[in-house]
């Protein structure tokens, strides 16, 4: 086992890999350690215990990254002190470790929610994570995500694929020295639960299954009447019906709109004002400004709707940004007033996340030139894609 290994060397490498994979740790703690590569040495310097690395390696086998975090947390208060028995070490480490890990996880989730790659690290599934997901879901899955640590195993037991994962992690970790905020982008890190199979395929499978069940839960909250139904097939049935009914409603409403003969927009502000006032008070005035700004747009020719449309939507962002604050409190009412459906927590969160993301997108887009609608749009899309790259 680990004891037979050369204690300092391999254990140090191992620990440094663990350290590298948790970039959130405050490396100032290491006391001026020049680089993360020397983390293992630093630890030894700290503890002055030649057998420490050995024990560290052993403990890491069942504590995973928590231990490494705890290592960083522990040494400064007691540098050079020799730890007691392994179990005491484990327990003493676990508390600051868990706190630190939670902090790490939280810190990591915030940027991770934007940029984290969700591709299974060793999965062979051909589908690259599609970039097409709302941020709402991204954030939510980021929150509900399993721990971001890789399964940690003693080197002797690692399969080839896993060691490649760890190598990838090491590589990434070392590449991340300059920017500690950057989460690993290419791999999904999953903690293997106790008593469950830890080989690569089942891990990837499990990740996939969890993602699917998560999304089914979202859908369940979204589609009215799905709460009573349990079971994938029935729920899918409901979802299909719902989407089909929505599409049919769009058709029907467009027909209805077509029948309104003088489709004039001059009175629209007042009408909307009256209509929306009951639902969401303060937003009415903002709709006003929205209307006035839209009326200022020149009537371009009846060419492509999309091309001419996008620059205008970009232009209107200035007004939209002002409306953000006013509207943020009305999100609750937005979807409530139509069908009286009480918005669940989830829906609110979804809306809030979308709002935030759209806000951020707009803020960025404000600086973009939009001479060509397509390029601006694609840039916008690329920006979002870059942010949520491979998340879904």
């Amino acid at each position: 086992m680990e004891g037979s290994r050369a204690g300092g060397g391999n254990g140090g490498d191992y620990i440094s890999s663990l350290l590298n994979s948790s970039p959130m740790l405050d490396f100032g703690v290491l006391g001026g350690a020049p680089a993360l590569d020397g983390a293992g040495d630093c630890l030894e310097r700290f503890c002055g215990d030649p057998g420490f690395a050995e024990r560290a390696a052993r403990l890491s086998s069942f504590n995973g990254q928590r231990f490494a975090a705890g290592l960083i947390g522990m040494p400064p208060p007691a540098p050079g002190t020799e730890f007691g028995s392994g179990s005491r070490e484990a327990s003493s480490v676990s508390d600051p470790a868990s706190a630190m890990k939670d902090a790490n996880a939280k810190k990591r989730k915030a940027p991770a929610a934007k940029g984290k790659a969700k591709e299974p690290s060793v999965s062979t599934s051909g589908q690259a994570g599609e970039q097409g997901e709302s941020d709402a879901k991204r954030c939510k899955t980021g929150e509900a995500e399993k721990k971001v640590t890789n399964t940690v195993k003693p080197k002797a037991e690692q399969t080839g694929s896993d060691s490649s994962v760890e190598d990838g992690e090491q590589k990434k970790g070392k590449g991340k020295n300059g920017k500690p905020v950057e989460p690993p982008k290419d791999y999904v890190h999953v903690r293997a639960r106790r008593g469950q199979a830890t080989d690569s395929h089942s891990l990837a499978e499990r990740v996939r299954r969890e993602r699917i069940s998560q999304r089914m839960k979202f859908l369940q909250d979204l589609v009215p009447g799905c709460n009573k139904v349990i079971g994938k097939a029935l729920m899918l049935d409901e979802i299909i019906n719902y989407v089909q009914s929505l599409q049919r409603q769009v058709e029907f409403l467009s027909m209805k709109l077509a029948t309104v003969n003088p489709l004039d927009f001059s009175n629209l502000p007042t009408l909307l004002h009256k209509d929306m006032f009951q639902a969401c008070g303060p937003s009415a005035s903002s709709v006003f400004s929205l209307e006035s700004s839209s009326s200022a747009f020149p009537f371009s020719d009846q060419g492509d709707v999309f091309q001419s449309f996008v620059p205008n939507s970009m232009e209107s962002q200035c007004t939209l940004n002002q409306l953000d604050l006013a509207l943020s409190q009305t999100t609750n009412a937005q979807y409530g007033f139509q069908d009286g459906m009480a918005s669940t927590n989830l829906q609110q969160q979804v809306r809030n996340y979308w709002e935030d993301d759209l806000q951020s997108v707009f803020h960025v887009d404000n600086g973009q030139s939009h001479d060509n609608g397509a390029s601006a749009e694609s840039f916008h899309g690329d920006l979002q894609a870059g942010q949520m790259k491979m998340e879904f």
Binding site: G129, I240, V243, F309, Q338, F362, G381
Partner: protein, 163 residues
């Protein structure tokens, strides 16, 4: 900025641009309806972010084939070709034989339903991953709901004025 308001604004702009706002002499009823629907879809796609989701990209691509080809030309054709190929590949895998246990039945039903869902959600055909399909569905459903709400609001507002 909520999706709802984005769609609303987009729809109004689009309608104006398409000349739907004018009196009905210029366009026939069906033309108007179609124009409204197209404008609504355009507004929806733009509200969501045209490149952000797969279904939005598909909708954009589909509608652009009706109009001119632009810089997206490459993407459009690649997407369509890919989807056609995938459709053909996925087409005829039918499981004959006796029905097994309930679990097998359920699985078959689920598979059938995911196929239906693929047909409904734009861009679903090219997706192999069930997980992303569900995500796209989620996204699409929320946006559709927003679209429906916007249009209902408009109808209500306009009909209140002209009884």
């Amino acid at each position: 900025m909520t999706v709802f308001l984005l769609v609303l604004e987009g729809l109004l702009l689009g309608l104006r641009k398409r000349g739907v706002a004018a009196s009905s002499d210029i366009m026939s009823f069906h033309e108007r309806k179609r124009a409204i629907k197209v404008a609504a879809d355009a507004a929806l796609v733009n509200a969501r972010g045209a490149d952000a989701t797969r279904w939005s990209r598909t909708m954009l691509a589909d509608s652009e084939l009706g109009h001119r080809r632009r810089n997206w030309g490459g993407k459009v054709s690649v997407k369509l070709i890919r989807e056609r190929v995938l459709r053909r590949r996925r087409g005829h895998r039918q499981k004959l034989g006796t029905v097994g246990s309930a679990a097998v039945l359920a699985r078959a039903m689920v598979r059938k339903q995911t196929r239906v869902l693929r047909g409904i959600v734009p861009g679903g055909e090219g997706l192999d991953d069930e997980c992303t399909l569900l995500g796209e569905t989620l996204d699409y459903a929320v946006c559709l709901k927003a679209q429906v709400d916007v249009m209902q609001l408009l109808v209500r507002a306009l009909q209140a004025k002209n009884p």
